[in-house]
Symmetry: D2
Subunit: 117 residues, 4 copies
């Protein structure tokens, strides 16, 4: 049987995998980056079990091609998501690590469900 | 040989094909639609030869799934693009027509290049 | 702290979220479906921690548009993935459930690590 | 008014823009490249006005990340498409040129419609 903890972790993985592959390849520049960050956040927060999502895209990697723009790549992502299932929260992260856009679980924790307090 | 007119038409086709396949599948709702429209416009305008781009997404098709959101589908798009190559402009359109998200050329025209005026 | 079980679950979620958003929108027909299934499987198996992946796309939903083809939608997916981290396996599934393409954990289990046998 | 020539060019642009943004980001390796090439070709040929499509992905660019695979990028594409509208054919190309994945019209030509031969 799987519990809330596994479910919260699973949901976090789904959302990070989804956002990566939905948005990689988007034409982007330093001027448009904030708009894309906001659109990604607003899309992810709609999905089940998402409590918080923050997306920052690394402007330093947005080097201009000969037509003056760049393309959203995996290494540009710094995204943090918090999912919740029942009383369990999972915080996970997507960010470059040793040349790879790594997704990892930061922590999981349960909050007290104490209706008498 | 291909001239400016063909090139402007080609560029319009590229951008409509690209935007369709980049964003179809994005989680969306009536509340987030404006943000996605804006992000698409800001991405497309970066690309070569694009003079104008307007994207409207049909809120009426954004029916909620059991988790309260929808997914961007081709039939939701109403997009108009104007490309320019040299002195030739091409206006093209993506919108539903008989149950299909149709891309079509609306018109092409050349502007006078009269350096003496 | 998160252990192998959470990590295996997380990896399964990432892969299902990724494959969904990478391929939704692909032009498809009954004749080409096997080729797309195979390409998805060959792409997913490359990713870290994936032991097995099976993708079946529902031909019954591939109704022809006026140009004679269809578009890969979330409801067409029936995908099963097995991930492994250390000695823990996670089996997860993507398939339609009550009108939604649901991703869920099927089961997790640990295999014995008995070096004396 | 636009004629068959513009229409054939427009259709070629649509398909190249579409395939690029549909497939960029796919996990890929030298071993799986042929499968992805085939799936792309089988998807594109379904679309209206496509007569021929050939996709070759540059294995030399498929350098392995720390998990032993690569990701399909725009610079890997060498794709040639032939579209037809009426009696007019358009051949277009997507390939790297000076560090950019350039789409261009190679040529357009009309074939004789001579029913007496």
């Amino acid at each position: 049987m799987t519990g809330d903890r596994e479910q919260a972790v699973f949901e976090a993985g789904i959302k990070l995998g989804a956002l990566y592959h939905q948005w990689v390849g988007t034409p982007i520049s330093r001027a448009s980056a904030a708009s894309v960050e906001s659109a990604i956040e607003k899309a992810v927060i709609l999905q089940p079990c998402v409590e918080e999502i923050t997306v920052r895209l690394d402007r330093n990697l947005m080097t201009e091609n000969r037509f003056g723009y760049s393309e959203l790549s995996g290494m540009m992502f710094d995204a943090e998501i918090i999912t919740r299932v029942g009383f369990t929260y999972c915080r996970a992260h997507l960010a470059p690590e040793k040349g790879y856009p790594l997704m990892k679980i930061v922590e999981c924790h349960e909050v007290q469900n104490n209706p008498h307090n």
